[in-house]
Amino acid sequence: MTVEALPRVDPKTALFRKDFAANAADLPGAGLGWLDARRGAALEAFALSGMPTRRIEAWKYTDLAVALENDLEPATPFRAEDAAAIADSAVFAGAMQIVLVNGYLHSIGGAGLTDAIDVVDLAQLSVRTPDWVEKHLGARAAGSDQILGAASLALMRGGIAVRVRAGSVDLPPLQISVVNPARGHGVMSHTRVLLVIEDGASLDLIETHAGEGEAKGLANLGMEIVLGENAVLNHTRLQDEAGGTLHVASIGAFLSRDSRYHVLLGNFGGRLSRVDMNVRLAEIGAEAHIRSIAVLDGERHADVTTVMDHASPHTVSRQLFKSVVGGRSRSVSQGRVTVHKGAVRSDSHQMYKALLLGPRAEADAKPELEIYADDVVCGHGTAIGALDDTALFYLRARGIPMEEARAMLVRAFLEEVIDGFAEGDLRDALWRRIDTALASAQGGAA
């Protein structure tokens, strides 16, 4: 394909295309036939729609083209002065830790990796790259349905492919820490993470995103998750980017027979975040639970958009989203569930709730349901509102001061999402992060 032959493009779209035109030959794995083909197709998918604006239905509430600066430079790997930012990225007790800096694999630490786990550095792709990487990399989160995911593959500078070998269970949790240290000017990183959990294997994954500096950069991540038969993935995602950052994550998950995927999406930081999650319940008995928490202070925009495909019979999906929105922030929750032809006995439920802490806070929730099969159970609901005055009065009438009563009710609102998902250290860490964000969001709303 030739980029030059396409019609005139806006400056934001051109930013990515210029990067590709200038650097394609130096991108990792350039010259590998399979990868060149997938990159080319991905760039084409991106170029056809261009940088997302509200004119694209799936981006109706989030105008990335407007938010994006047009003078971003490609992010650079680790430098000595990044050490402090990396040290700030806490390791969960007993976890195996993989650290990515600006999208490049930096180190493997924490408890180290067990033999059950293979890691491939995507900045070092070559003819010796294992078959399982070639088989899966770029198969998901790289098409026209996830436009920025496509860009992350086309412009990939680095990242990791992780495989958990068949039958491996009772492993320590794996923490992937993505750190975006300051570069003094706006940078963009395009990162890929491929995670393959083979048949019968099980993993707890903690994915953290943190950054420093106020530069208006872009952290663009494409993540592919492949679950083999009976595989289990418990995935916690904590997005805590620096205040100027645009965080875009395109996640594509493929679920084989009787596999289970549980994910909690936590969005706290960044100027704008968009988590674009496509889950394909590909085979009989697959089950996916998506939980989402956003606690937004100041002036942030957090968009979680999901596409859930029930492609086989007896598949189950549950989605529970709760946002607490303060200041001038905005939370967006969109979810489309499609029950495909033949996916009988599918069972799906979506619930979106948002709590607005002040008059300038905003929340949008849009569940959609498309059903092409018989004998299914599908439901959805939304509720957006302020704290319940009656409940607030009740707590205060019992002697609990205003701020404490408000905090109690907000925590109670979020409890349902965390309850039954996170335990121990992870649960404590989640609540700590939530409490910090709440203190700030409540203060800003008062």
Binding site: D389, A391, F393, A397, R398, G399, I400, L414
Partner: protein, 249 residues
């Protein structure tokens, strides 16, 4: 203990209490009876300091202090308690955690030491037993899935735990069967003391068979129109509000 003088209260711009006078000395239990719409709930919410109940004139003196300037939580810390007609369900907050938080918030506001979890639990269990409140109820989210009777019993448990100087019971009898009513009344009677004043607000005389008041007041159209001894309640029951107050109820 409580001295209400010429109290005028508006809700959503509409005047509901129109010059209410009421005085309750320590050690006494008074009842305010009135038909629907007479201003009973407005009186209880105004005393508790709920937002939206605006005092346009008059005063509420509690232990000689003007209540109007105090927030609901400050009133609670000073020993004021309102048992709500409709206790609020709060999912995500366990009943036990709520009780401990509230007790300690009141103590903190009074400059007293907080009570540790074990001691609160012991205290709550002791009071809960008499009210037939189970361990399971205490573990459940506050009032969620509780029956009407369970909710009211939990209100009385809170009153017993906080040991207020002035307790107002707003239609605590509504929605109770006779056994629950007896249990609640016993809980209230056990709290009667020379240092404490109580105000029982009710539509029906029934509750007053079990909690015998010192004085009975009849509220109509935002004013106390007549007062008397416990026999006034019986008379009301027999003759209806219309005859007693000389107007359609």
């Amino acid at each position: 203990m409580l001295e209400i003088r010429d109290l005028h209260v508006t809700v959503d711009g509409k005047e509901i209490l129109k010059g209410l006078n009421l005085s309750i000395p320590a050690g006494e239990v008074h009842a305010v009876m009135g038909p629907n719409g007479s201003g009973k709930s407005t009186l209880s919410y105004t005393l508790a300091g709920r937002e939206g109940y605006d005092i346009t004139s008059g005063s509420i003196l509690y232990k000689g202090e003007e209540l109007a300037a105090l927030t609901p939580d400050a009133r609670a810390a000073k020993g004021f308690f309102l048992a709500l007609q409709y206790p609020v369900e709060i999912p995500g907050v366990s009943t036990m955690v709520f009780l401990k938080t509230a007790l300690n918030a009141q103590r903190r506001a009074r400059g007293e030491d907080e009570v540790d979890a074990v001691k609160v639990l012991r205290l709550v269990r002791e009071k809960a037993k008499a009210l037939n409140i189970t361990e399971d109820m205490l573990r459940r989210p506050l009032n969620v899935g509780f029956s009407g009777g369970e909710k009211k019993r939990l209100e009385i448990l809170q009153m017993a735990l906080f040991e207020p100087s002035l307790a107002v019971l707003d239609e605590t009898d509504s929605g109770l069967d006779i056994d629950a009513l007896r249990l609640v009344a016993e809980g209230v009677n056990a709290m009667r003391s020379p240092a404490r004043a109580m105000l029982v607000i009710t539509h029906y005389q029934r509750l007053l068979d079990y909690i015998v008041p010192t004085r009975v007041h009849v509220l109509r159209a935002g004013q106390i129109v007549t007062s008397g001894g416990p026999e006034l309640a019986k008379e009301l029951e027999k003759k209806g509000y219309e005859t007693i107050t000389g107007a359609a109820a």
